[in-house]
């Protein structure tokens, strides 16, 4: 089975599924398209898990396929995953069925839960297109996202990178709150601007590689052997970095994210923030660090500063937000600051932490978006100040909310802790000042999460909240797997780390960095159990 084109199948199955779902007849509240879409996403997940079981932890690219695509400028259809790519592909595959299940009624002409309040609510508006289209775009996004994480050819990556904008544009623009059209355009313009700058660097890569001995090529494996020279390398690096910084998003190019999460449906926000934004940080590792090690080292002081600013800035903005999805959007700015910090401190702890953080942040933010989505759809309002005392009437919802929030603030025992701790340790090895500033993020995280919990869930139950339904079976079924994974990986992140660490070693050797030795060099033997 080693020659089976696993990754191509993982890209193709959801896209084919999307076409089928879109082609099905549209009847109001028809369950068939939803069931088929859900089935396709589950099938993809199963295929992905089967693939992952055949992965060997040696840090190299696996499940590779390579076909010449456009010979004249060396573009290939080339896919493959290393540990970093594999975890992100799996994250995509895990979250898609969860999101589909959680968004079951979100794309109905008028969402079932809010018929009576939807008329005047600015936070839930009737869908513009059919549920079929919603589910089809979701599946299409899954396939394209797998493509981005699996591409090992810069040109192919670029094509997938831009292609993912299409489903998100329609998902944001067609389903969600009243400001969705504007939000969708803003998202698209930001991303296209970044994509354009990246395109310049992609073309630059061609120019440089065409002059090199091997001839024009876009294969990452070939490009990483080329010495771009100091100036060229730095220019190309900047082009890629700006695109990824917008995608991630980092301060000061983050403002599209809160606007988008505020207006998108929770499911769309999950796919956007938990999966698609990871392309930014994934790209920083795969392209910025591995292709332009010299330029990355040159840019480190600036990037680390921006990352730390993002951590604090995003958290402070989150504290000041009254709109729940907007708040979560800002928390992600803060968390992405941590991820970028971990990447650019360029040591094993930072990089492993950052990679793990990408996966864990995907889970915790997904849980948070989904459960707040359930909450908002019940009340027809996304404003914190419209809630109060929910725990009394919906204890399960409140409990799920709390656990998701605690994951977001990186409570030890839940998976984000391990990654955040590793990033802080890595940052500390790199610069004490950076770590000292970044670590204030853990206090601010506690404030924004618990303040939100306090204001929505506790206190006297407001009259509008009385009689609010607790989570139903479908909703529990959607979030329970995510919470379960958060707890499991909180205590036992080894399966992820054993996949990530060899790839991190590879990245480290590519950027030519070594971990600093402990100040007290000589180590005594560990405890007697070894």
């Amino acid at each position: 089975m080693s020659n089976f084109p696993w990754l191509s199948v993982l890209i193709a199955v959801p896209i084919v599924g999307a076409v089928v779902v879109q082609a099905l007849p549209r009847r109001a509240n028809a369950a068939a398209p939803k069931q088929i879409a859900f089935g396709v996403s589950l099938l993809t997940l199963v295929l992905g898990l089967v693939m992952a079981s055949g992965y060997e932890n040696d840090g190299g690219m696996q499940f590779t396929e390579q076909h010449t695509w456009i010979k004249s400028f060396g573009a290939h259809y080339a896919v493959g995953v290393d540990g970093i790519g594999l975890t992100l592909v799996l994250l995509t595959l895990i979250l898609t069925p969860v999101v589909l299940l959680a968004s079951w009624n979100d794309a109905d002409p008028i969402p079932l839960d809010v018929r009576d309040v939807a008329a005047e609510s600015p936070h839930v508006a009737p869908a513009r297109w059919s549920p079929n289209a919603f589910f089809a775009w979701m599946l299409a996004m899954e396939g394209l996202a797998v493509g981005v994480f699996a591409a090992t050819d810069v040109f192919l990556f670029y094509v997938f990178f831009e292609a993912t904008l299409i489903p998100i544009y329609f998902l944001v623009g067609g389903y969600g709150g009243a400001g969705r059209a504007r939000a969708a355009v803003k998202f698209l313009l930001y991303s296209l601007a970044g994509g354009l700058i990246m395109l310049a660097s992609v073309i630059g890569l061609y120019v440089v590689s065409a002059k090199s001995s091997g001839g024009a090529t876009y294969l990452v494996s070939e490009l990483s052997k080329i010495d771009f020279g100091t100036d060229t390398g730095r220019w190309l690096f900047v082009g890629f970095f700006i695109a990824f910084a917008i995608k991630a998003p980092m301060f000061p190019v983050h403002t599209w994210l809160p606007d988008t999460t505020e207006n998108a449906t929770p499911g769309t926000s999950v796919l956007l923030v938990s999966v698609l934004d990871k392309i930014g940080t994934f790209g920083m590792i795969r392209f910025c660090l591995e292709l332009f090690p010299e330029a990355s080292r040159w840019a480190t002081p600036v990037v680390v500063t921006l990352a730390v600013v993002s951590v604090i800035y995003g958290a402070l903005m989150a504290i000041g937000s009254d709109n729940i999805p907007r708040l979560i959007g800002y928390t992600s700015v803060s968390h992405f600051g941590f991820i970028v910090l971990g990447i650019f401190v360029m040591n094993s702890q930072g990089l492993s932490g950052a990679n793990l953080y990408m996966f864990n942040h995907g889970l915790s933010t997904a849980a948070l978006f989904l459960v707040t989505g359930f909450l908002i759809s019940r009340r027809g309002s996304a404003l914190i100040s419209d809630f109060g005392g929910v725990e009394k009437v919906a204890p399960v919802l409140a409990g799920v909310f709390l656990v998701s929030g605690l994951a977001s603030l990186s409570l030890p025992g839940l998976s984000p802790f391990v990654s955040e701790f590793l990033v802080i340790v890595g940052a500390f090895s790199h610069s004490v000042v950076a770590a000292a500033f970044a670590v204030t993020g853990i206090v601010l995280a506690a404030i924004y999460i618990l303040l939100m919990y306090q204001r929505t869930m506790t206190g006297p139950t407001r009259p509008e909240i009385v009689g609010m339904r607790d989570l139903g079976t479908r909703e529990i079924a959607a979030v329970a797997p995510v919470l379960l994974l958060i707890v499991i990986f909180g205590f036992f992140p080894k399966p992820l780390l054993s996949v990530i660490n060899p790839s991190v070693d590879h990245t480290m050797s590519q950027v030519d960095r070594h971990d600093p030795a402990p100040t007290v060099a000589e180590q005594s033997p560990e405890g007697a159990h070894q």
Binding site: G320, S352, G413, T519
Partner: protein, 648 residues
């Protein structure tokens, strides 16, 4: 790999080294001590209403079995050779990155052994008490789930063999504390207090995070074994930095100055919570952390000085606050702060004080839990009134509560032979041997303690009755009084029967040994001086509260000192004015900055292009002939340009 027993190794390097043997025999059951309450918590919190009927008994049961197991393990440890009393159990590797590996290991030694007994023992008693106390609460099952979660986390904290493992338990108890302070979440004050406690604890966690990071950078590992073995090789600056960061962590968890403000608000939680978490166990975690890190603190005089200063300030602050509070639980909370100040102070004295800190921690765990449960019993009988001005003359209505409370009272003010005397007296003695000013602080603190505790006793149990009209005080049910009796017995006898003398020898292999310094006036003389100071405190309280009538309303015409003490020495006001308000102003400013500057640049660029195009499009006027003219002039321009290029 050295085979030298740790006690001998201690002689070589100055500080003892953690060098544990692998767990075997009965010690291989160590993980069960933690796992049982954790399992209980999981069942109770996930099981839903199905477990309502028997849930509380499951909660009590798991802790009780853990206690029995702790006893078995303790005696097994006693049975071992005194140089061989460190046992470690490797559970699994938590995470690895590069050369950094964190194992989830348990370390069972003399120090964790006594903590295990304290946590499961006092914890078990309080669980039992809660069965009665929470009987009429419809969410009792959940309460027990949280309590079990707390016990499991606290056990993790004291059993972990790695700073990151400690962090796991550290935050776990923080979470349990958050959930339990805010247990009556429909009360906005409870929810706010819970959040406040968690956030301030997180400030302390900065210390633990950065401290662990610095430990890793210095030693390449965060396990106690590696750190203790190499501590003497690190530079003194590094050690001081680690020490101060750990002190910051301890300040957060143990409500020490300047992170003390959360503890009084935390009394919003149900009383058994105040007894277990905010008196006996969790708040002492900071003391544990410092004592456990003795291999670092012993090597850095500067960090220890910081610890002593924090201890002194807090022990006086807490005592002063305790003098002015009318809320019985808050008065006790002020007292807790103060008593932990004593422990921190003792821990800061170095090898001379580590064991004393733990000694006082244990006795305090007994008598303070006893008094908190007593307060709970009082509240139970007076319709949950907490204002001592509405009590008075309760001794007849609640004889058992009164007697047990009185024993706790005698223990805390340090009357021989009750428990507190033995521990506090020795701390004061050692403090004087170290530094006169520090000793004086401790001595004055003892006097104030006597004052506020006597005041509390008098206002609650003696004096004339000042009950609300509809209150009919009655003794609590037996499920509540039996725990009171048990704790009172420990408060009375725990000091000299069990712990005095023994504890120092028992802990010596963990915390190191030292030269006894003798005082000029001798130990006996010191005790007498202390007792005189205590007597003065009692006498003053008697003059003010025993001989005069206590008004039902708190007097408003009071001295500036009383007002300051009532306002908790303006700790909250300071935070509010210096951190919260400017913080919110800053955040509002930042929102404006984000919206109009950061986003403004992006949106501005977009609208600039929009404006430009709306201006340009005016050329599209619909007249075909003007288009034709434009085409013609364009062609002419191109032509001219070509000519210019060709003929220049």
């Amino acid at each position: 790999m050295s085979l030298v027993p740790s006690s001998l190794a201690a002689l070589h390097s100055g500080a003892p080294v953690v060098h544990a043997a692998s767990a075997d025999g009965v010690f291989s059951l160590l993980w069960l001590v933690v796992a049982l309450p954790a399992l209980g918590a999981a069942v109770l919190l996930l099981g839903g209403r199905r477990t309502d009927r028997w849930g509380h008994w499951l909660g009590v049961g798991t802790v009780a079995v853990s206690f029995l197991l702790s006893l078995v393990l303790f005696f097994a440890l006693v049975g071992r050779d005194s140089g061989d009393r460190q046992v470690s159990q490797h559970l699994w590797t938590w995470f690895t990155a590069g050369k950094y590996t964190v194992n989830l290991d348990l370390l069972y030694d003399q120090l964790s052994a006594v903590f295990l007994l304290l946590i499961t023992g006092v914890g078990g008693i309080i669980h039992l008490y809660s069965v009665g106390y929470m009987e009429h609460d419809e969410r009792r099952r959940r309460f027990f789930g949280y309590l079990n979660l707390f016990v499991a986390s606290m056990l993790t904290l004291v059993l972990a063999a790695d700073y990151v493992g400690v962090f796991l338990g550290w935050e776990g108890v923080g979470l349990a504390s958050y959930l339990l302070i805010g247990f009556w979440q429909y009360k906005p004050s409870a929810a706010a207090a819970a959040k406040k406690a968690f956030v301030i604890n997180r400030v302390g966690d900065i210390g633990l995070s950065l401290g662990s990071a610095l430990i890793f950078v210095t030693f390449g590992s965060t396990s106690f074994a590696v750190v203790s073995a190499n501590a003497d090789k690190a530079s003194s600056g590094t050690l001081t930095a680690i020490g101060l960061l750990l002190l910051l962590a301890a300040c957060g968890k143990s409500a020490q100055f300047p992170l003390q403000t959360w503890l009084l608000d935390a009394m919003e939680g149900p009383t058994p919570v105040s007894a277990l978490i905010h008196a006996a166990t969790m708040v002492t975690a900071g003391v544990y952390l410092i004592v456990r890190s003795n291999f670092i603190f012993s090597l850095t005089e500067d960090a220890r000085t910081g610890v002593v200063i924090v201890g002194c300030i807090t022990l006086l602050m807490g005592a002063i606050i305790g003098c002015a509070k009318d809320d019985i639980k808050k008065a006790l909370a002020g007292s807790t702060m103060s008593q932990i100040g004593y422990m921190i102070l003792a821990a800061g004295l170095g090898p001379a004080g580590y064991a004393l800190a733990i000694f006082h921690l244990l006795t305090h765990g007994f008598f303070k839990a006893n008094m908190f449960l007593g307060a709970g019993s009082v509240m139970h009988g007076t319709n949950d009134d907490v204002n001592m001005r509405h009590y008075g003359a309760l001794q007849k209505a609640m004889p058992v509560t009164f007697v047990t409370f009185a024993i706790g009272y005698l223990a805390i003010i340090g009357v021989p032979p009750f428990a507190g005397f033995w521990s506090k007296d020795r701390i004061i003695e050692t403090a004087f041997a170290d530094n006169f000013v520090v000793g004086l602080c401790a001595l004055v603190g003892a006097g104030i303690t006597a004052f506020y505790m006597t005041r509390l006793m008098l206002m609650t149990f003696v004096t004339e009755q000042r009950w609300e009209p509809d209150v009919h005080p009655h003794e609590s049910p037996r499920v509540m009084t039996i725990p009171l009796i048990a704790l009172a017995a420990l408060s009375a006898l725990g000091g000299f029967l069990i712990l005095n003398g023994w504890i120092t020898d028992w802990l010596a292999p963990v915390v190191g040994t030292h030269e006894e310094k003798s005082l000029a006036i001798g130990a006996l003389g010191m005790s007498l001086v202390t007792l005189v100071v205590v007597a003065i405190g009692i006498a003053i309280a008697w003059t003010f509260f025993g001989r005069r009538a206590v008004p039902r309303e708190a007097p408003t015409q009071v001295s500036v000192f009383t007002r300051a003490a009532r306002a908790e020495l303006y700790g909250d006001a300071f935070n509010e004015e210096v951190i919260v308000k400017p913080g919110y102003t800053g955040i509002r400013g930042l929102s404006v900055f984000d919206g109009s500057f950061v986003d403004g640049i992006a949106e501005g660029t977009a609208s600039a292009f929009g404006g430009m195009s709306s201006w340009f499009r005016l050329a599209q006027n619909g007249f075909v002939r003007s288009y034709a003219l434009a085409v013609l002039s364009g062609a002419a321009l191109v032509l001219l340009a070509l000519l210019a290029v060709n003929f220049s």
